[in-house]
Structures are given as C-alpha cells and as structure tokens.
C-alpha cells in the first residue's frame, strides 16, 4: 500500500485533573488517500479527542501526528499554517461551525482560497472553481450563495460545511460526528455525499461516529474505540459480520434494527468491563 497521508503514532492525551483523565491511551492509525476509515465508539471513549489531535486542533500529551511525511505542529494563535490546510474537518453542529453573519458564498470561497494558496494557480484540478458550482456539486442550488446559514436546514448547513471543507482540496477530510444532529432520512444521504465527493477528489477520510449501522456502509476500514484504546480494527464488512472483541460484539448487539420484528436489543449488565487489548483478526 502507498504511504499514508495522515498517521498517528502512539498518541496519548491526558486532560488535567486529580488524577488526570487519560482520554486517548496510545493510539496509532494510518489514513491513506482514497479510503474511508470509520472510527466508532460510545461517548467518552476518546474518539473526538483523537480526531482533534489528528487535525492539529489539540496538542497530544505524547506521540506525534505525521502528515505527508512530516510532523504536524498543532495550530497556534497565529492560525493554521497554509501547508496544513490539506487537513480539513467537518464538525457535528453545522450551526456553530459556520459564521451566522456571513453569506454562504464567501464562506465556501474561503475554502477555495485556501486551496489556491496551498497548491498555487487555480487550486485543485477538476474541482468546481466557484462557490455556486460547489453548491450544485453538493446537491443544492447555485443561488443559495446569497443565503445566510440561519435560513437553511441542518442538513443543508452540513452540506455547506462539507463544500467549504472540500473546496480547500484537502488530502484528508475528518468528519467528527457530522451526521449525528440530523434526521435519520438525511443522515444516510449526507454520509454518502461526504464520502463519495471526498473519494472523487482522491482524498482520504476519517469518519467519526457512534452510529455503526451507517458507518459500515461508507467505510472501507473500521476502528472500534473503547476507553481510549482501539480494541478492534479491520475491513468494515468483516467486523460487521464477525466482530471478535467482546466490546465490539456488545456494541453491535445493542443496535436496534428497524426490521419490525419487535426484538429488543441485547442488554449488557451495567458496569461490564471489557479487555483493553486489541482483538486479533
């Protein structure tokens, strides 16, 4: 396989406290161009913290992030370095990640400008070159460039956040629960739009989510996280069909399926602890 675009090496993150809370406890992972990696786990498992480290928003306590062969320096007060705009992120709440007082067009233009600064010339080849074209690519109308985020629905705002991120022609797109705040019928569509457009640009993607049922449909590989550790990793369909780690098994068993069978999901006794060692596949 080719060199990864983005790798994490033995990332440890401690949050201060008495005692400190170890949110991420020694995680290594690679993201390659042209693949979608799903990072799944429940609240408090450290998946969002890990995502913030990977895009340089948070300095790890130990370990390093390697982006295109060099160590990624966390973002400072001066803002993101031009070279690092190849890592883009889409957050859970599009209401707070878009500027409510700016029209949609200029916000997407920011992404296009970032691509031009980093790559020179007209930015990425083959990608839309104007905010209006980007809106059409993402399934909206070109006229929407003049609207404010507040006049759009949650799904539409998340499409705009995706367009802004992809306009920067990223090498890797990190989505931190990008579909969690949306209605179910919108979730699957947006997950597909995000992943297919990212792949069309030849970029890699890390899709962080607690919703395994949707993630396994878009992800090539899955990473299952539990208490700061990755406890299982492998091809998405294989893990879905045959989970090896007891935690993955519990997680999959607890998903209620809309099959009309009236079957209650499996209950694990409260306080169950699972091994933190990674399952061998």
């Amino acid at each position: 396989m080719s060199e990864p675009v983005l790798s994490a090496r033995d990332i440890i993150v401690d949050y201060p406290g008495y005692p400190p809370l170890r949110a991420v406890a020694g995680v290594s992972l690679d993201i390659h161009a042209g693949e979608v990696v799903g990072l799944v786990g429940e609240s408090g498992c450290g998946k969002s913290t890990l995502a913030r480290v990977l895009c340089g928003l948070l300095k790890p306590t130990a370990g390093e992030v390697v982006y295109l062969g060099r160590t990624l320096k966390p973002i400072g007060v001066a803002g993101q370095k031009v070279a690092n705009t190849g890592i883009q992120m889409v957050f859970q709440d599009p209401g707070s990640s878009l500027n409510p007082r700016r029209r949609v067009g200029p916000q997407i233009q920011d992404g296009l400008d970032a691509a031009k600064r980093r790559l020179g010339g007209e930015g990425a080849a083959g990608a839309p070159t104007s905010p209006g074209d980007w809106l059409e690519r993402i399934g909206m109308n070109a006229d929407d460039v003049n609207r404010f985020p507040g006049s759009l629905s949650g799904g539409q705002r998340q499409r705009i956040a995706t367009a802004r991120a992809l306009a920067a022609a990223p090498d890797v797109l990190i989505g931190d629960e990008p579909i969690s705040a949306l209605d179910a019928s919108t979730q699957a569509r947006l997950a597909y739009v995000m992943s297919s457009l990212t792949l069309a640009q030849g970029a890699g993607m890390l899709f962080v989510s607690h919703d395994l049922a949707i993630v396994r449909l878009i992800a090539d590989r899955l990473l299952v996280m539990y208490q700061g550790h990755i406890v299982e990793r492998g091809p998405a369909e294989e893990i879905w069909a045959d989970p090896r780690h007891p935690y993955t098994q519990a997680l999959l068993g607890a998903i209620p399926l809309a099959d009309g069978a009236g079957r209650l999901p499996a209950v694990t006794p409260p306080g169950t602890h699972y091994p933190l060692t990674e399952a061998i596949r």
């Binding site: 429940e42 609240s43 399934g139 629905s153 949650g154 799904g155 539409q156 209605d183 179910a184 019928s185 919108t186 979730q187 699957a188 569509r189 997950a191 597909y192 739009v193 297919s196 607690h210 049922a213 949707i214 396994r216 449909l217 878009i218 519990a250 997680l251 068993g253 607890a254 998903i255 209620p256 399926l257 809309a258 099959d259 009309g260 069978a261 009236g262 079957r263 209650l264 999901p265 499996a266 209950v267 694990t268 409260p270």
Partner: protein
C-alpha cells in the same frame, strides 16, 4: 380493543405576531391499554408537542381544538389545578434529558417522594419504603443508599432509570416517554428499552413512546404511528407499518435506514439513495 386515551381531531397552532403557525393538524390516535404505542417522526413533525398537549404542558401561546379523551374526561377542557389529580398521578411523563428532568439540588428520595405524598397522602416512612422499592424495580443497585444521593452522582442511564421511578411513583396508567433514550449510548439504551418493555408486560402500564429512531420504535412498540408536518400519515400494528407500509412517506423513511426491510443493506443501496437530490422532507 380498549382505548385508554383517544385523541380526536386535535389541532394546535402557536400564536405569533404574524398570525398562527399550525403545529398539529387534525390528529386522531387511539392508545390501547397495556400496549406500547410508538409515535415516530422527524424533527419538527409535532410529535413532542402532541405528548406535551396530553398533559397540558403546551406553551401558553398555543390554541387548541379537538378532544383528548382519557376515560370520560376531556383533558383539553381541563386547565390549571383541575389537571392535578391526573397529571403526575394517572398520566406521567419522562423526557429526553434526565439531568434536567431531575432537580440537581434535591436528593433522589425527595424527588421520588414529594409527589407521592401530595397525590397519595402517604406518610414519610411509607413513601420512603415505596421509593426504595421503586429504585430496586428500575434496576438501581443499592436502592437504600441511593435514596440519599444526588442526581449528579449517577450516570446518564441511571438518571433516566431514576426519572422512570419518579414517573412510576404514583402508579400511573399512562406513561408518556418523549425520546427517553436519545441522549444515551446504544448499550445503555438497550437496558432502558428492556426496562420499559418489562414494566409494560408486568404492570400492565400503557406507554406512548415518542422517538425519531425507527430502530428503537421497532424494538419496543406494539403499535406505531408515523407523523409528518403535524399529521399522522400512517398508524397500525408494528409489523404492518414496518413490513407492509402503506404511505409513501413511511416507505421513504424506511428506505433511508440501514437495517430496515427494503432499507440500506449495501453500499450500492446507499449510492442509489444518495443520488436522490435533496432529501429534507420539510422543504
């Protein structure tokens, strides 16, 4: 079928400066005794407002028409104190966020016994004994010691269990559960769903279970109603709605779900669905 609650032609609008915004448009629904009636819909469909209106918690700017029959009583005709013998006693409610449903400065015992002493006129000792029983019933370990603890000392799932115990304290006939598992992890959610089902089967409790998650609905509900833009577009037994949906809207909801019959099974299904432009139902 004996209906415990019968909603007839319920409409609700919110008064604003620009006129009245319709939220519910002619809702008809019968909730069968001893069953879980599911009410599903996307955000803004009016499902929460329907639940609130039953217990008279709709906003003061709301204008309602229609009837909500609870036995021979029209709940819509009751206001203020006239609702007190019913609300909290015969009809109880639990909400999405158990940390705001519980008072952070009161012990679990106080929250479990206050309304019990008001409604049932039982002594402090008797209410304390019942509270301990209730905590045990909903699966809180060390029920006796937990009585003197505060909500923040419990996890989200445990808090929802305590909220359920509070709701059950006066022995209600109907429990309205508004997205009770939405804020919880799936493994915790599984426990709450099993508890709700077990309470229905053992106590003969009737539940109106409001959720946006059709997977949850399929697991816990006996009958299902699908709501869109203030109207119930489809209602029926669970297997009928999930396996032989009648309405195009229900079909489109199921088609966008992984795990539903006729839903998303493979990446190709997703690609076909993603090819459909837009998808937000309210625009």
């Amino acid at each position: 079928m004996t209906a415990l609650l019968r909603i007839e032609d319920l409409s609700l609008g919110i008064r604003t400066e620009q006129g009245t915004t319709p939220i519910l448009r002619g809702v008809n629904l019968e909730i069968e005794a001893g069953k879980v009636q599911g009410l599903a819909g996307e955000s803004g469909s009016g499902k929460t407002m329907l639940g609130l209106t039953i217990v008279g918690l709709e906003p003061t700017t709301a204008i309602t028409t229609g009837q909500i029959w609870f036995g021979a009583t029209d709940l819509l005709a009751l206001t203020g104190k006239a609702l007190n013998p019913i609300r909290g006693r015969r009809i109880a409610m639990i909400f999405q966020d158990p940390s705001t449903a519980l008072h952070p400065q009161l012990t679990v015992e106080r929250q479990l016994t206050d309304h019990m002493r008001y409604h049932l006129k039982v002594s402090r000792i008797e209410s304390r004994r019942r509270a301990e029983e209730l905590l045990d019933r909903v699966g809180i370990a060390q029920a006796k010691a937990s009585l003197s603890r505060y909500p923040h000392e419990f996890s989200g799932g445990q808090r929802q269990r305590i909220a359920i115990a509070c709701a059950l304290a006066c022995g209600p006939e109907l429990l309205i559960a508004d997205e009770p598992t939405t804020a919880l992890d799936v493994t915790v959610q599984a426990g709450i769903l099993a508890l709700v089902r077990e309470l229905v089967d053992s106590l003969g409790l009737t539940v109106l279970f409001i959720t946006h998650d059709l997977g949850v609905m399929s697991a816990v509900a006996d009958r299902v109603a699908i709501m869109r833009a203030g109207e119930i577009v489809e209602a029926g037994p669970r297997d009928q709605v999930f396996l032989r949906p009648d309405h195009d809207y229900t079909k489109s909801l199921l088609a966008a779900l992984p795990g539903a019959v006729g839903g998303l099974q493979t990446r190709d299904d997703l690609a076909r669905l993603g090819g459909i432009k837009g998808g937000e139902p309210h625009e």
